[in-house]
């Protein structure tokens, strides 16, 4: 989704978005990369006065994010970031509202607000910093920790199944769903821009390494020796190909995705599943989202799905305009002095 036709009136640099506060995440934390990629990509997508940007967060390491952005910012309470952001957006639809949140904040204590934000298609951009652990409280398991994961509160391994966040967003009808990884700077920038340009609830999951309490959680996906065989980058209109030598592909056979070997002579690129971001049916996106739950499948990153429908604030504004067109601007006199009136002289 390039932006070539739009005339750019505002020219910002990454520096314009950096606040004067010292960044205080642990050295080596994946959050630094997310902050850097946001600041780098904003100049390309923010084509309005930067005072119209608001970052909202909840509680957790990720939720310190707004302090480091030189925009309006609101550091909320645990789990409520999407609800606070919803209030900001509805109160002033001119604002670009972004949410920085973590796996505990968004999916555990804030799960209810998250799904309803998606359902209502509130026009906010949610960046989920998913490190599969509670960092700020020092190492308890989170709703995205794996079954069997050993943490401070699961010394014998977690018995819980994790959420698959994109699937949750899809089930809740989010209109833009994407995933990236903290260490893939270019890809992450691209996803931030895509999310920022979407009108409606944009959900971007970022795999983020917590080098203190869950170090290496995504090594398989980021180490140069293993990443190509374990990550597939989704691109609209292109076949699903992965592997060090681009030698593996994914076919869809009925409801079943199948990994095929492109070197065996049985299959060519033409036999592969071609990704369609704008597929009106959520079925295929759901199958892609489940790749990493399947043995032998790569973890997908990129845009899973994007659809366009009326947003929450658009609906509210439309109704107000319709009622005003029909009944005229409200008159306090008329509303107060209505019903069965009588006069005492």
């Amino acid at each position: 989704m390039d932006n070539k036709t739009e005339v750019r009136e505002y020219h910002y640099t990454a520096k314009d978005f950096a606040s004067d506060q010292d960044v205080r995440w642990c050295p080596g934390c994946g959050d630094y990369s997310i902050l850097a990629q946001v600041q780098r990509s904003f100049p390309e997508i923010i084509n309005k006065p930067k005072e119209n940007i608001v970052w909202v967060s909840g509680i957790g390491c990720s939720s310190r994010f707004p302090y480091y952005m030189n925009t309006y910012g609101f550091h909320g309470i645990h789990g409520r970031a999407t609800a606070i952001a919803t209030g900001v957006k509805i109160a002033n639809p001119e604002l670009d509202v972004w949410v920085a949140t973590g796996d505990g904040d968004l999916l555990s204590i804030g799960g209810n607000h998250f799904i309803h934000t998606c359902r209502k298609n509130v026009d906010i951009k949610i960046v989920l910093f998913n490190n599969r652990i509670y960092g700020l409280t020092k190492g308890q398991y989170s709703p995205t920790s794996f079954k069997g994961q050993v943490t401070k509160t699961t010394p014998f391994g977690s018995v819980d199944y994790p959420f698959n966040p994109p699937k949750l967003a899809l089930g809740a009808e989010a209109t833009f769903i994407a995933r990236s990884i903290d260490k893939f700077a270019k890809h992450l920038q691209e996803m931030i821009k895509r999310a920022g340009l979407h009108k409606g609830t944009a959900f971007l999951e970022v795999f983020q390494n917590c080098n203190i309490f869950n170090d290496g959680a995504f090594d398989l996906l980021t180490d140069k020796d293993t990443k190509d065989d374990n990550v597939i980058e989704l691109k609209h209109g292109e076949p699903l190909i992965f592997g060090k030598n681009k030698d593996k592909g994914i076919r869809l056979e009925g409801f079943n995705p199948v990994v095929v070997d492109l070197t065996s002579g049985h299959y060519s690129v033409n036999d592969l599943w071609v990704h369609d971001e704008f597929d009106p049916s959520p079925a295929r996106a759901s199958i892609i989202m489940s790749f990493d739950e399947r043995e032998g499948f790569p973890t997908p990153i990129g845009v899973f799905r994007q659809i366009i429908k009326e947003t929450c604030d658009e609906g509210i504004t439309r109704q107000i305009n319709e009622v005003k067109a029909k009944k005229g601007e409200g008159s306090l006199e008329k509303v107060l002095y209505s019903g069965n009136l009588w006069e005492v002289k």
């Binding site: 930067k50 005072e51 005003k324 002095y337």
Partner: protein, 617 residues
């Protein structure tokens, strides 16, 4: 025939009527129709709806009985009346449940058609009270309401069920006849309500008129009654419930402040009507957001306040508990929001449809940390309008959350409201900061309020949140001295509101020994009890709190100048607790927590007991 129509017309000063029937019988509608009519003919009135939490409890059972009581008079009145003079009972269960409260010798009008074996046994009657003499102490009128309604509606193309549903209007018509009323208000209502359903108009109109004509033609009734208009202050009036007045108050605050109104809300009895009323008002640009839960109700409001709206959230007790943490966030971020708590019976789910005053301490203290907020309470249905305006004014001026307490009784109850002249209502000034010079997020003005700089304002980008902030600059601060200073400042800011609210006014005999002290929705009952005690020759003074935190400035002086202080409350002594701890003044408590408004007679008995048996001399 003509002769028989000449019924005696008796003039009464005041009457209390209770309509009672199955929760599907339309008693609330009948009651509100009679109330609007009563207001329109110029009586002073006060109402008390009393309905079960179940929407349609099994028909005919006692726990499914829904009631509506109204008290009207040619004189000033303040309560819905302790005991009804007239009971309209649509079935045996309604009779059984409500008879014990009827005045001795009172009028009972029953739908005799419903007194069959099945309904009698559902109401746990061993024998038919219409036949066994158990109603001997009352004037009983047996009216076959169901069959008369059916006969009146013969030929109308409606199902038997739909026809049966209009029987409440037959009863209403009969009551209009009995109290010598015009039918206009209800006829107008029928035509508006069913504009697109002519058969409903015909049916309801016929049922209403049939009830009226029945009174005229039957020989059962020998007299009818009339109550002269009350001498109310000159002005234009309408009848209003507390919830509607609350909604209109915030709408008016929005107009007077020039701020768009945002309501974040989750439906909860008995507060939902506020959300319903405001969601109608889109032509004012009012934004109502029905959230996924109570917490989202308030946190969306906090977001909207950050963005520069007049932001409010409404709820009842359990919802206030859920909002506690977020109220703390609004205290910390010093943003103006109003939280309306329409109190109901607690704890937990408690008595959702009943009234209580037991959220006072929760409102004043119920948050983690030192988290002072301003707490206000409305004293009557129409007073909710004034306090909604006042809550908005204080929230904006002091950049603070304000909790407005109403209760199920004044929220659903109604009274005549003398409409304010809109031009005479004061503006609510709003000062958004625009200039970068000297701007700091936590710098303070003379009221200790921090500046309101809203997103969209160039060069004022700043970050706020729930972490402690450094004074003036607003950066996150863990400095011990700063924390102490900020805790102190936040409290001082709230206490400053004392300088900006009216002093308490002593009503009654200022030089008495006994002071009766109330707050919120018990005003009417206390006022009436004090008036009655004074009529009996007792010297009694009364004050009533509408500002609970901070208290008005002259509170201490007043409390210290009376020998005895009586505090009636619908809780176990929450205001009493605050008075004792704040002013080191002891009080005598009168507490009844029945889910119902306090009765005048109960307060009066207590006043006499406390004042001393011989007129307090």
């Amino acid at each position: 025939m003509e002769q028989e129509k000449d019924k005696e017309l008796l003039e009464l000063k005041e009457v209390t009527i209770r309509f009672a029937g199955d929760s599907g019988d339309g008693m609330q509608l009948t009651g509100t129709q009679f109330s609007d009519n009563t207001a329109w003919v110029g009586n002073d009135l006060n109402t008390l709806p009393d309905y079960p939490a179940e929407i349609r409890a099994p028909a005919g059972t006692i726990y499914g009985v829904s009631g509506f009581q109204l008290h009207f008079s040619s004189d000033d009145i303040y309560t819905p009346g302790d005991q009804p003079d007239v009971l309209v009972a649509m079935n045996p269960a309604a009779l059984k449940k409500n008879l014990p409260e009827l005045k001795p010798g009172g009028i009972v009008i029953v739908n005799s058609d419903s007194f069959d074996q099945r309904n009698l046994s559902l109401a746990n009657y061993q024998s038919n009270p219409l036949e066994d003499g158990s109603l001997a102490g009352y004037q009983v009128f047996q009216v076959p309401i169901t069959s008369m309604t059916q006969r009146a509606l013969e030929g109308i193309k409606l199902t038997p069920k739909e026809i049966s549903r209009t029987k409440n209007f037959f009863a209403l018509g009969l009551m209009y006849w009995l109290f010598n009323r015009p039918l206009d208000t209800t006829l107008n209502w029928i035509h508006q309500k069913f504009a697109k359903k002519p058969e409903y108009i015909e049916a309801n109109e016929k049922a209403l008129k049939a009830g009226y004509d029945f009174g005229d033609n039957t020989e059962i009734f020998t007299s009818r009654y009339s109550v002269k208009p009350a001498k109310l202050e000159p002005g234009v009036y309408r009848n209003i419930s507390g919830n509607e007045a609350t909604a209109l108050g915030f709408l008016t605050a929005s107009v007077k402040s020039g701020l768009p109104l945002f309501l974040g809300s989750y439906p909860i009895t008995p507060a939902s009507e506020i959300l319903q009323y405001l969601s109608e008002l889109k032509s004012f640009g009012v934004k109502t957001f029905q959230a996924e839960d109570e917490i989202a109700g308030i946190t969306t409001a906090i977001g909207a306040a950050f963005a520069g709206n007049l932001a409010i959230t409404n709820t009842s007790g359990p919802g206030l508990s859920l909002k506690s943490e977020a109220i703390g966030l609004a205290v910390m971020t010093e943003l103006p929001i109003v939280i309306i708590d329409v109190q109901r019976g607690g704890p937990s789910t408690g008595l959702p449809t009943k009234t209580e005053q037991a959220d006072l301490l929760q409102a004043v203290f119920g948050r983690n940390g030192e988290a002072p907020v301003c707490v206000l309470a409305a004293k009557t249905p129409s007073h909710c309008f004034d306090m909604a305006l006042e809550a908005s004014r204080i929230a904006i001026k002091y950049m603070t959350p304000v909790i407005l307490l109403t209760d199920g009784y004044i929220a659903n109850g109604s009274e005549p409201w003398r409409l304010p002249k809109i031009d005479e209502l004061p503006e609510i000034p709003v000062n958004f900061v625009k200039e970068k010079d000297g701007y700091f997020p936590y710098a303070r003005n003379e009221y200790l309020a921090r500046p309101w700089a809203i997103p969209g304002t160039p060069n004022l980008e700043h970050r706020i949140g729930g972490l402690e902030k450094s004074n003036i600059y607003g950066n996150v601060s863990y400095d011990p001295e700063n924390h102490h200073e900020m805790v102190t400042l936040r409290r001082k800011k709230i206490m400053n509101i004392q300088n900006d609210i009216p002093d308490l006014e002593v009503e009654g005999d200022k030089d008495s020994e006994l002071l009766v002290v109330g707050w919120g929705g018990t005003y009417g009952a206390i006022k009436e009890a004090v008036t009655k005690a004074r009529e009996k020759g007792y010297k009694i003074a009364q004050i009533h709190f509408c500002y609970l935190y901070p208290f008005p400035k002259n509170t201490k002086d007043i409390l210290k100048s009376y020998k005895k202080i009586l505090v009636p409350e619908i809780n176990l002594g929450q205001l009493a607790y605050m008075i004792r701890s704040e002013f080191l003044v002891d009080v005598i408590q009168y507490n009844l927590v029945r889910g119902l408004p306090l009765r005048v007679s109960g307060i009066l008995d207590k006043i006499i007991e406390v004042a001393g048996g011989n007129n307090g001399q």
